[in-house]
Symmetry: C2
Amino acid sequence: MNQFRVAILGVTGAVGQEFITLLEERNFPVSELRPLASAKSAGSKIRFRGQDIVIQEAREDSFKDMDIVLSSAGGSVSKRLVPHAVKAGALVVDNTSAFRMDPEVPLVIPEINPEDIALNKGIIANPNCSTIIMLVPLFPLHRVAKIKRIVVSTYQSASGAGAKAMKELEDQTRDILEGRQPRKEVFPHQIAFNLFSHNSAVDAETGYCEEETKMVKETKKIFHDSEIEVFPTTVRVPVMRAHSESIYVELERALSEDEIRKILGKAEGLQIVDDRKANHFPMPIEASGQDDILVGRIRVNKSRPKEIAMFVSGDQIRKGAALNAVQIAERWAGSAAVKTS
Amino acid sequence: MNQFRVAILGVTGAVGQEFITLLEERNFPVSELRPLASAKSAGSKIRFRGQDIVIQEAREDSFKDMDIVLSSAGGSVSKRLVPHAVKAGALVVDNTSAFRMDPEVPLVIPEINPEDIALNKGIIANPNCSTIIMLVPLFPLHRVAKIKRIVVSTYQSASGAGAKAMKELEDQTRDILEGRQPRKEVFPHQIAFNLFSHNSAVDAETGYCEEETKMVKETKKIFHDSEIEVFPTTVRVPVMRAHSESIYVELERALSEDEIRKILGKAEGLQIVDDRKANHFPMPIEASGQDDILVGRIRVNKSRPKEIAMFVSGDQIRKGAALNAVQIAERWAGSAAVKTS
């Protein structure tokens, strides 16, 4: 089997750390690992397959001889460095929003549009976490009954804002329990024992925040369906690392609850957790650390049989970010291996 | 001004405690206060207007000479004791679900259907907290543009399950921060750093939990509109005492965002918190302890101008329970005072 030289851009972040875990767990054919981060972290070490590897500063010339770059160092770093990685000949799977809407860049969820991987010109974009967690369970239904529109409300974890935000949730919670004033550094509002509209900039005209605009635009691109309507309300909740979403969908043709369960039961990347008797449905603590998106509260609106609801939870760092990117790299590597063998 | 002899049934609970605070704060004309609770709490004291008053055991004969009973001791206690309070001549404002759907019992939110108060035959029911917090901001829009349907996802605080549930959220959080296994007593699932579908029984056939069924049925009754459709998804979040709701509404005629703001700006019982530039919208920590429901994220769906969205937060113990009940009692007392003067 072909081996690949893999660079990780932003290796010290929550997603960067998860890249390491996943490459080990999934036995990705890595012949060389090059961990890259800001100058601040350069010189410290990360552990990979029992070896300590020194983190290098991410610079324009950091990508020489790399086959694959897994990138998650923020949009501005990606914009600056990813073109150099491409020029050096690497395939970049970029986890930021920098290139997602670029018509030259495929935006891929492997369970949905793996065929788009082949269209890449050096960059494949990884979708926004909320988009991935919403679309993995919706696509199998879209394929058989065509989704006309989605109304979605999210319950997004701290991890979506990175490792520092997770620490802030923990610190603030401790401060409050011990009677101290909680300090705000990452989030604009207190996250402990609170919730707030997503902390991305809100468009003064439309009232949508950037997180919501991503869900609208990325869904159209991934589904190759410019007609599909998405109306999202994105909310940050005091949960550590899994996002949940309350999803309401209008289909072109009616599906029964049994049909929905049958379709989702056969689908990749998800698991049905829908026990009405035990009141057991998707929960972030059960989704955390899992590869699968958990799907439950499956209901058909009896007075409008073409409309259905579900509640989902998915690990934001895994399927919402690092896992999806590694799965893209695996598919690409599989086809690259075929070509070169 | 007339004075009233007031009994509080379930005085040791979260809502019972808030009744005391509100009667003091709002200067309710109380000539005698009779605190009632289970045998377990009988004999201990509560403080009211600078005096210690001994809690009595709530029994069938506890209501002699009372004018008003504020009741919040759970549905089964209400079913057993409220009829005796009515027989003893008191007006009962009942905060449980025991009588809400009884056609003989008015179900009242004073900002919406105060005229129903006069129809009482001894009992006035206080609606479910999620229903109140949803309907106070929706009714002013319903009056001018008729709401055809509501799709709502809730973010409900621990307080909705009582004082013990709030304690459980605190204890579990502390356990997790200190590396101990969190204990579950009140909620079926871990609430700290987690969320789950509402902890009321789920109907095996429809898939709705009781909390959702309440929102559907109570909305029709309070609005006197059997046609209005409500599709709720109710979720418990690790927040202490204010519920939030992401509300999507279809109107019979289009309203602009400016019109919505104008209508809501003049409405009673709510406050608009909708600062797109500052990313400042309703949050449970700001709604806690407030009488008003906070309303924001007001958006019209550009591709469907009859459809609008908003995000609301309201104190579950205040307007969601105790305050609404006291406001009902105030309105009733006002008209009773007129009649007797």
